[in-house]
């Protein structure tokens, strides 16, 4: 067996070990890179930045623990931005398993900025029927959520006094691990002209670029890289920013492995 044949038959466990080391070493050494934010993330940041203090931002938790490493840092960075700018946060979710993640982030960041529940932010929770919920939110939020996550009537919360539908929301931010983002565009943007920013896992993000190109969404935050970009824009060095060196290392490794694999394939094919 020559060198090229051996190259094509590397034990997958060796590759796993190299990938493991490629991730763990930069994290242990606490290496950091300067992140240059992508245009679509800057657009998202600037749209939030443009909102006057007191405006309402609706954040939808459309993910659960399986996408937490990518979307939770994004959520924390967005909440930091909103509370820093004195924006009102209205959180809800279409993925019931993700609700506790939204609650954890909301409580943590609200506490940091001294925000008061019911006055500066509210957590509406979940209602079944994704499309029906989105359509009815465009008519009257109370038709869908007459109480918050803990059962408090929303009319008793000062934050909800003048908020009835998408017209009263400055920006809707959907954090997406599946196809719920498409539904936000189809039902909230197309029907009610809601201004939407989507943050998505890297698997979902490529499918959302056509919406950005068609101006159906005003910003797109894609994957851990997008989360790192947003963290750098709001000057919060969170897990996404700290994960970028490991991400870069593995990307270089994957490119090298693809090149070596192809060289091995073509060399052995020529021999046959």
């Amino acid at each position: 067996m020559n060198f090229w044949e051996r190259l094509g038959k590397i034990d997958r466990r060796i590759i796993y070990l190299v990938v493991f080391l490629g991730v763990i070493i930069p994290i242990l050494l606490k290496v950091t890179f300067r992140v240059e934010p992508m245009r679509e993330v800057k657009q998202a940041y600037e749209e939030v930045e443009k909102l006057p203090p007191g405006s309402a931002v609706m954040i939808s938790i459309d993910y659960d623990a399986s996408s937490m490493p990518e979307l939770q840092p994004m959520l924390v960075a967005i909440l930091e931005h909103c509370f820093k700018k004195d924006l009102k946060v209205i959180m809800l979710g279409h993925w019931p398993l993700g609700l506790p993640l939204g609650q954890i982030a909301l409580d943590k960041v609200a506490k940091k900025y001294g925000k008061v529940y019911g006055k500066d932010y509210v957590f509406l929770g979940f209602r079944p029927g994704v499309a029906a919920v989105m359509i009815n939110l465009g008519k009257e939020i109370r038709q869908v959520f007459n109480s918050d996550y803990k059962g408090t009537p929303i009319d008793s919360l000062p934050i909800m006094q003048n908020i009835h539908n998408y017209n009263d929301i400055g920006i809707l931010i959907g954090l997406e691990a599946g196809s719920t983002g498409d539904m936000w565009v189809q039902f909230a943007q197309a029907r009610y002209n809601a201004k939407i920013i989507l943050g998505a896992t890297a698997v979902v993000a490529p499918d959302l670029y056509p919406y950005l190109q068609a101006n159906q969404i005003v910003g797109l935050i894609g994957g851990l890289r997008g989360a790192a970009d947003y963290e750098s824009l709001v000057h919060v060095l969170g897990p996404a920013y700290l994960g970028m060196p490991a991400q870069t290392t593995i990307h270089v490794l994957v490119v090298i492995l693809i090149i070596l694999g192809n060289l091995g394939y073509f060399a052995t094919r020529r021999k046959k």
Binding site: V23, P69, E70, P206, R225, V254
Partner: protein, 215 residues
Amino acid sequence: MANVIWTWIAAGLTLAIFSFLYKDNPFYKLAEHIYVGSSAAFWFIYLWYFDVKPKLVDAWLQNTGFEKYILIVPAILAVLMLTRFIPTISWLSRWAIAFTVGMGAGLGITGALQGFLVPQLQATLLPIWVNVSDKFTVNLGYSLNNFILVVGTIATIFYFYFSKEHRGGLGYASKVGITFIMIAFGASFGYTVMARISLLIGRLFFLLHDWLHLV
């Protein structure tokens, strides 16, 4: 203290799942079974507490008049769906399925047309000669971008035109189309690699930070 215990349990389950990378083993099987069991239990509870109870049981108890009695319709449809378990009357479940398909298709078609097809078509009708503000000089970057977008869209549509053999002009156009499709697949693959590595980073960060406190 509770947090510490849960962190150790989460770390143990993470390592048990990772152990499959070496080979299948009892620790992996244990973690897998815990995951499947807890997911099934969660969805059972979820369907009861978020769907059946508030939408049917509570609504029946709280409402009066028409709003109360209209609930008999979804209740009957729900029962009909369960007839799938009885072969002799399983055909009744088709009524419930027909209702669901009809509603889904109605919502889906209007949403797709209004929210996807028409706006995306509009976004493809672009000038391939874009002038800068003085109206005489061409903006090369925008023009090239629009040209690629228009050619890519048309060529990809040609690739999916199956009523005529892909020969001659149509053959060339479909080859351009498949090139664009391959580039899109490549971009998706790149993003997928990034996503999977992000998940690994997240888990290892949890082990090093929350569990071992090394970073």
